[in-house]
Amino acid sequence: MKRVATSRSRGVLATLARHQVIVCCGSGGVGKTTVSAALGIGIASAERKRVLVLTIDPARRLATALGLRSLGTRPVGISGSRLRRAGVDTRGEVAAAMLDMKSEWDRLVERHAPSAAVRDRVLNSPFYKGISDAFVGAHEYMALEALYNFHAGGEYDCIVVDTPPSRSALDFLQAPDRLVDFVGARLLGLLAGPSRIGWKAIDLASAPFVRVADRLLGTEMLADLAAFIRDFRGLYEGVRGRAADIYRLLRSDQTAFAVITTMEEESLAEARFFSSRLREYSMPLRAVVVNRVLPAALRNARALHAATTLAEDPDIADWFSSQLDGTVRPDSPRRLGLAFLALHEMAERQASLESRLEGLPGVPIARLPLARTEIGNLDMLGELARALQGA
């Protein structure tokens, strides 16, 4: 089993680098953004490629490390000399960009509105302002839309996209369909009414719906909503066409999905769920990256014995004092021992969950060590990128 695990770990970067779009998924808190950035850097260093890392909401230090100072979708290149200083010898180029949701929504409306008048009415409607944060899947859709545009722009050989911290994996996969449904729903059209004063003209079959909606929302709001929906439906053709393009790209060989996880029950369960959903959507999983793996040294049985001596031997503090010709705080060895024992337990728990990885399809698995420092600087990303190369 060990042999299989090793051979699996070698292929992640090579496997992913064969694709032009890499979508990183996984539950919140597993370090998706960091891993996405490390993947991008790793690919650029292994091959002469222009790589774009598209992030959603990076931690501030990570944003600084990537050279992103303010919000904006304009990619910023990371200079080769900075990368070399971080120990990454790149042959390619790396740029990073951060999504700004509000401007992505505005751009969507601008792109797909059938006329300037409709565009302005939608952008100024109070419903629109609410929809851009309330619509489930909005962030997910916008990330895909931005990804699609960068891909179509052809400026990059490879785009690594970090997905938003979704409530569920499904939000992400369903986002384009959901937006199409939402914009184009036939019954929404019914609610919009045939015209501004057309409520009474609606056919008998639909009258009860309108009556209930009217009682619930009040006539005035219903009329406002109807007007908004009529305008919003104008986006339908554009959005439907684009969503179909996005699905085509995601299902094509150009795209690879990678699941990021940690060795914890919750994120492993989420990884498994995600991989089964990907299969349903005919979007095959190509790689798994396990982040924050504790060093194997923590499970060393003889080191455990040594730590137990530190924690429990009543004479150990005196021994240290005599060795070091000085005062040793009497509880110091005990704390050292207990600290190791706590980490040992954590490492054992991680190891005990190893079998959960086998539930994932047989794709390459990379293990990234818990970084030596938390600080998300370029050195750390370089360290992770090298770990991905298996160097």
Binding site: V212, R302, A339
Partner: protein, 325 residues
């Protein structure tokens, strides 16, 4: 002891409320902490309802049960739990207020409401918060059905739209039944004597930043009081730089040290460096939270010896109450 008394005070203040929302960045242990608060409330003799908003089943598992559905199910003595679903909330709503019988999923009426629910901003959030407020008001035989409701809410990015749903709705609806209903829901949520928010964090950059930002936004945008912040999984051993330096000095003669300890010193040094890092981060972020949060910060130790489940929830409950476990 001072810390234990402070924890006790925070807990009493939390348990005097009717509605506790538990939120935080994904992965910070919201479900376990919500479950622990439920155990503590039940331990104080209260009838507790746990509500799971994100419906992954973690809350029920943290209480030793299997994932629950929309109908409340008893999981522990004094604790019932339910998982919210927008669709079932809507059907229940229509049943109660419009006497519309339970609908088959795809009848035109249900579908139209689906679209209203997706289309009108805030309706889904309103159904979530409305159902919770409805449970808060439920009375049977002259007594409230629940003494306290603990909500394992959406992650911090999504909880505010829910908490302020009633308020936003009031701005959109000027008449109609919904207007009157949003008013009472808003009264429940914005009343700090009845409703509070608690925020979970870890000793990492993003969870701490989100906790601090959320505290401000909760007050400004949702008028919801933040009653406590839980710093979860604090590395439990207070290692100092002096401790580590002592081991390193002794390791200069590693053969001698290894003979005395009965094992290799290399892994020990590696472990101690990692433990120092984790402990230093725990302390740094605890300090940052204490200076930047107005609400009390409660540190909860990492329990590497316990898998996710009821036993860990019990240990967490003891830690929240400031008792040894």
């Amino acid at each position: 002891m001072v810390a234990a008394r402070a924890a006790e005070e925070v807990l009493q203040s939390l348990l005097s409320r009717r509605l506790i929302f538990v939120t935080g960045k994904g992965g910070t242990g919201k479900s376990s902490i919500a479950a622990a608060l439920a155990l503590l409330a039940a331990g104080a003799g209260k009838k507790v309802l746990c509500v799971e908003v994100d419906a992954k089943g973690d809350l029920a598992r943290a209480l030793g049960g299997e994932p629950v559905g929309f109908a409340p199910q008893v999981l522990q003595p004094g604790i019932s739990a339910l998982a919210l679903s927008t669709e079932e909330s809507l059907q229940e709503y229509l049943r109660i207020y419009f006497k519309i019988p339970r609908l088959v999923r795809l009848t035109p009426l249900a579908r139209m409401f689906d679209f209203i629910a997706t289309g009108v901003p805030g309706i889904k959030e309103m159904l979530v918060i409305g159902k919770i407020a409805y449970e808060e008001r439920r009375v049977e035989k002259g007594a409230p059905v629940w003494d306290i409701i603990v909500v394992d809410s959406a992650a911090s990015g999504y909880v505010l739209p829910q908490l302020r749903a009633a308020r936003s709705m009031m701005q959109l609806t000027r008449a109609g039944m919904l207007r009157a209903q949003t008013e009472w829901v808003d009264q429940v949520v914005a009343d700090p004597a009845r409703t509070v928010l608690t925020i979970c964090a870890l000793a990492e950059e993003m969870p701490v930043i989100e906790a601090i930002e959320l505290q401000h936004l909760a007050r400004e945008q949702a008028q919801v009081a933040v009653a406590a912040c839980f710093l979860n999984r604090v590395f439990p051993i207070p290692l100092t730089a002096g401790d580590a330096a002592m081991l390193e000095r002794a390791a200069a003669d590693s053969e001698h040290l290894e003979a005395r300890l009965g094992g290799p010193v290399g892994p020990l040094l590696e472990g101690v460096r990692l433990a120092r890092r984790l402990r230093a981060e725990s302390e740094r972020y605890a300090h940052q939270l204490r200076t930047r949060m107005r609400a009390p910060v409660i540190e909860l130790p990492l329990r590497p010896d316990m898998p996710f489940g009821l036993a860990r929830t019990r240990a967490l409950a003891a830690a929240i109450a400031g008792r040894p476990s």
